[in-house]
């Protein structure tokens, strides 16, 4: 095949890579993006998007079941619902497919060339792409490494057979009768909750003292309560030891040191993700590393001239929206603009039930930095909108500096609060003070009002509590 020479080459068409490619194309750079999957990366194919589709489907089914049992809004009842999980998965695949095509269309629109295959570096300017039709050599002025991340495997529970990763969990044809989730991080709890709602008997095993260990106890508590309500067994301080016995039960060791067997049909291992730094010829490059990640500066430049790294491979937080912002930035830098990655707010959302949103500093993190803080907290139990939605669990919390009221962090837990992340991030990014939020009229009746009330609370001027 013909060799290609281009100005801007992106390795990986995930959220970071495809955004970098589109922006570079828009800016007139001759751009090529390489991926062996359909464009969209983990996020679109086997991550954010498909999991949200399944979570939504499970929610709908669960609500109908509740209504059938007379546990929904009084007066609303229904017959016993039925669930065809294979059809749900087909619907999910349809969404993924539409989005794959959408990204491909955006590539065309911005004149980006998509090369299918696996890229391997020969040097800092050249890669060989091995695709179905052979090998192709691509030389570029600027190369962006956007190889993403992959699920971490446990030595005791290698993937295969009944042990699956999140990718396979999204394509199961039926919800497993008994599902054991190893790893109580956000992916495990999200999927565990969805399968519990879809009818599985779910056990979540977490080695740390609490599930969702990156969030504080106040935020996790409503999720624990909901999991209990859904009949999910949560075991903390427990380590998975492997499969045992003829029925290949999951063998675990409790904090007390005793062994327990958990009968299960499927074991979902979600103990984290690691950057993909092997298998694409990193050894041909001279890249400094930062732990498992590629070390970059504030412009995502690596130790090599003209080589950038973005997204999961370039460091925490491993989130699609961070990767997108980095992708946009490196494309603009390659086009001659001056840019640095100096975002103040990278929101993190857990699509658990209830959902958790966190942006900026938590109260404990602010304290650890020696900052005097004012906290404001408004519970949804006091929100008219939350009552009218039938979900009063959760709260909004604002962390601000005590001296000048600069907002340092905002957290919320509650049904549907993921959509509040936009308001939270904007406030932080704009450098809002408590007075700015308190002085903004928030629409009534909405969950968003709770944000204003939390700010008022931090100022000692709460109205509705």
């Amino acid at each position: 095949m013909n060799d290609i020479t281009c100005q801007f080459l992106v390795i990986g068409a995930g959220p970071g890579g495809y955004v970098a490619a589109i922006r570079a194309g828009q800016l007139g750079l001759d751009t090529v993006v390489v991926d062996d999957r359909k464009p969209g990366g983990t996020c679109l194919n086997i991550g954010c998007i498909p999991s949200k589709a399944l979570i939504h489907a499970a929610d709908e089914y669960f609500l109908m079941k509740e209504a059938a049992a007379g546990r929904a809004v009084p007066g609303v009842t229904g017959g016993a619902p039925s669930l065809d999980w294979a059809e749900v998965v087909g619907w999910k695949d349809g969404i993924v497919n539409r989005l794959n095509n959408g990204v491909t269309g955006l590539f065309k629109k911005s004149r980006v060339k998509l090369v299918e295959g696996r890229a391997r570096f020969l040097d800092g300017k050249t890669v060989i792409v091995t695709g179905e039709t052979g090998e192709q050599r691509i030389t570029a002025e600027t190369v962006v490494i956007a190889t993403g991340s992959e699920p971490v495997e446990l030595a005791a529970l290698p993937f295969g057979g009944k042990v699956i990763s999140s990718a396979e969990a999204l394509s199961l044809q039926t919800p497993p009768e008994r599902l054991a989730v190893v790893g109580g991080g956000y992916i495990g709890v999200e999927l565990g909750t969805a399968f519990a709602k879809a009818g599985s008997t779910v056990t979540i095993i977490e080695a740390a003292g609490e599930i969702l260990p990156v969030y504080d106890a106040d935020l996790v508590k409503p999720v624990r309560q909901r999991l209990a309500h859904l009949g999910v067994t949560v075991m903390t301080g427990v380590k998975a030891q492997g499969l045992a016995g003829e029925s290949s039960d999951l063998l675990v060791e409790t904090a007390a040191g005793e062994e327990r067997r958990i009968p299960c049909d499927t074991v979902l291992v979600t103990v984290g993700r690691r950057p993909v730094t092997e298998g694409w010829g990193r050894e041909e490059l001279v890249l400094d590393m930062d732990g498992p990640f590629i070390r970059t500066d504030e412009t995502r430049r690596t130790a090599m001239r003209g080589v950038y790294a973005i997204g999961d491979v370039a460091g925490e937080p491993m989130l699609a929206h961070k990767a997108m912002a980095e992708g946009e930035m490196v494309a603009e830098i390659a086009a001659g603009h001056r840019r640095v990655f100096d975002h103040r707010a990278i929101p993190a959302v857990c699509f658990t039930d209830p959902e958790i949103v966190s942006v900026g500093l938590s109260p404990a993190e602010a304290k650890a930095q020696g900052i005097d803080t004012s906290l404001g907290r408004f519970p949804f139990a006091a929100s008219g909108r939350a009552m009218s939605l039938g979900r009063e669990d959760g709260f909004v919390r604002v962390v601000a500096r005590a001296d000048n009221h600069l907002v340092l962090g905002i957290q919320a837990v509650g049904a549907g609060v993921s959509e509040l992340s936009a308001a939270f991030s904007l406030a932080l990014e704009m450098g809002a003070c408590l007075e700015d939020i308190a002085g903004t009229i928030h629409a009534h009746p909405t969950l968003g009002e709770s944000f204003q009330e939390a700010a008022l609370g931090a100022l000692g001027k709460a109205l509705h509590i």
């Binding site: 603009h337 001056r338 840019r339 640095v340 100096d342 975002h343 103040r344 500096r401 001296d403 000048n404 009221h405 600069l406 990014e429 704009m430 450098g431 003070c433 007075e435 700015d436």
Partner: protein
Amino acid sequence: MKVGDPVSEDMTLAAVMTDKATVDIPSPVAGTVKWLAGEVGDTLAVGSPLVRLNVDGLGGTNEPEENPEEMVEKTGDHPESPSENRAPGAGERKAGGNDASMPAEEEGRGPQPAGLSSLANGPSPAPSPGGRPAPKPATPPARPAQRKPGDKPLASPAVRRRAIDAGVDLRRVAGSGPAGRITGDDLAVYLEGGAEASTGRGRIADTSVNDVRIAGLRRRISEKMETASRRIAHITYVDEIDMEAVEALRTAMNQDRREDRPKLTLLPFLMKAMVIAVREQPVMNAHYDDEARILRQHGGVHIGIAAQTGAGLMVPVARHCEARDIWNCAAEIGRLSEAARNGSAKREELSGSTITITSLGALGGIATTPIINHPEVAIVGVNKMEVRPVWNATQFIPRKRMNLSSSFDHRVIDGYDAAVFVQRIKALLENPAMIFVEEAA
């Protein structure tokens, strides 16, 4: 200077040499040297730390030093200035980030009145002996800039984008908004007046850069000078000429001149002397085609006379000076310079010279290094005539003297020949009768 050495305020830390100048870098504070970027003679990257100092006392007490440090930083901003200057400032700033004892500059911007902080700066010498104006008891800035070292400046994404596009480090911009937030207006003020506008200390560093497009005649001059300077190996020879005789003759000739004759300046005498000199050294009256390697010696002496006009430098040409008498030369000069000044000079009157005279005489100056009018090989520069004391073996006597600074194309003219040429002109001007004798010969 080595690690552990104590330094006092204003003590010279290092002499930093750039391609343009050597600059002494004074210490902005008293302290001890903690870290050095290199040994004497090392080359450091622009913008990299030069030295880190351990400083006594609590943070935020070096207000009086802020200004000079800023000035240094400012010069660093100017793209053409010796930007290694910024090294010390940047170094200190970085040190401030990871060394709690080093007050970072931002803190100095705080609401603390300057007067107070100089008191708090215990061991530092009182008003600095270097004559730097003592800090005015300036009114503290109204804004509560509580930014701590390492704190990111507070600004909306739009303001940050504008700042980075303008190449502004927002850490240097004072914020007027709540919690010290930098508003769009704060940035605009900074961009217009610089941070100095907000320090309120009188004299401010002008960091503006005004891009002027070089076009028209200026562009042509620039290209011509570039060609000449790049291609020709210049040698400049300066000698002093006694002008008493030629001045006496000139005065006499002007007094008795006929009505129809122009008033003589010195220039026609020099022109006639040059005609005679090039007759003896035809190599001087030539065009050197350096691509063909041919020296084209001209029979006719076409003398270009560099003239300053409103639009710039022009070189009108007095053609065939070998065929003109001195009066005719003077008349031609008068006509040409008038034409050049009022813009009516024709193209052929501005080109075709074989040798050129340039004169900054009236402005003074002892010597010049004239650039040869390419592709010519010689240019004679006239410096100011003035009365100078001359030793006549028994005493100093006042004499009218004038320097002649002449450049030659050293590729085709040896220094010896250049000297012979200038000495010949000197001899003719010092014995001006010979000009007319030789001409007749």
